[in-house]
Subunit: 169 residues, 2 copies
């Protein structure tokens, strides 16, 4: 079977994610206080945000530029389920072929070139590659599932880990 | 207000999207016949697909490499609502700062390095940058909306345009 040759693609940051998570504090729980999390676009892109505030949710696509790729990264062992071995493309691990992150976040307010959002699990200063509206019919799948996560036990508990919500064991 | 300097990010294709939509046929409606749509990974990544078939839906992240960026692309006029002017980041237009596409697709079957999927609105040969599982609690937002699309009239009708489903006017 023929496969197309590999190709390279260069993207330029359009702004940065501002969070309370500095470089020395890797995996903090997500907070929801107003103003803690925002997307600051390079001012030249401000016009491209027109009507973004009409959406409840948006996609943020960003470069995971603080991630060091490990060896043996094609299979992942989740910290909360170390007995399992998961294909990296069946995981949300940041150690992946292309270090691209996606998050669905709530839009709180748009002011000029700044979008105030709900919590996002990204380092302060993470470069933003794209912002897209999250559309009800296209993106909200009512029959979505948890895949292999269901095989590891209590989905509600694991969801806290996935979302980075602080809790007691 | 200080903004971080722009940064450049290079990604490498991990495979290609195979669809019936060749280069000369731009915006075809989406079909759903088995085998019409698939993601063909470069064989070296096959192991990374382990357990992907446990998910109903996945994200496909790809490079929109057939898109020619227009001038005045910060504001978009939807073909079906030409009286409106939409910020590009509030739109799913392919003419954007970074030509990155995202689609949520159904997983039908995974065989070796090939993922058989539901329809996707991409050209044949489109380079894949990443594949991620779509997780119920994280990604399926029950209170998502249609933003400005609601202001243009009949959402159900417009949804057909958005999804590329053929219909009569």
């Amino acid at each position: 079977m023929s496969v197309y040759p590999k190709s390279y693609h260069v993207f330029q940051s359009i702004g940065v994610i501002r969070t309370p998570y500095k470089d020395t504090v890797p995996y903090q729980p997500v907070q929801t206080e107003e103003g803690d999390f925002k997307l600051v676009l390079h001012p030249q892109y401000t016009e491209g945000l027109h009507l973004l505030d009409t959406f409840h949710y948006i996609y943020v696509i960003y470069a995971l530029d603080k991630i060091v790729v490990k060896t043996n990264w094609l299979l992942v062992k989740p910290p909360w389920a170390p007995e399992m071995s998961i294909g990296v493309f069946a995981s949300r691990s940041p150690n992946r072929a292309n270090p691209i992150g996606i998050s669905v976040v709530k839009v709180k307010q748009v002011k000029q070139n700044i979008i105030y959002i709900s919590g996002i699990d990204a380092f302060d200063g993470t470069p933003i590659l794209d912002i897209k509206p999250y559309l009800d019919l296209l993106d909200a799948k009512k029959d979505a599932n948890f895949g292999w996560v269901n095989q590891t036990g209590d989905v509600n508990h694991l969801a806290l880990h996935i979302k980075g919500v602080p809790h007691k064991h």
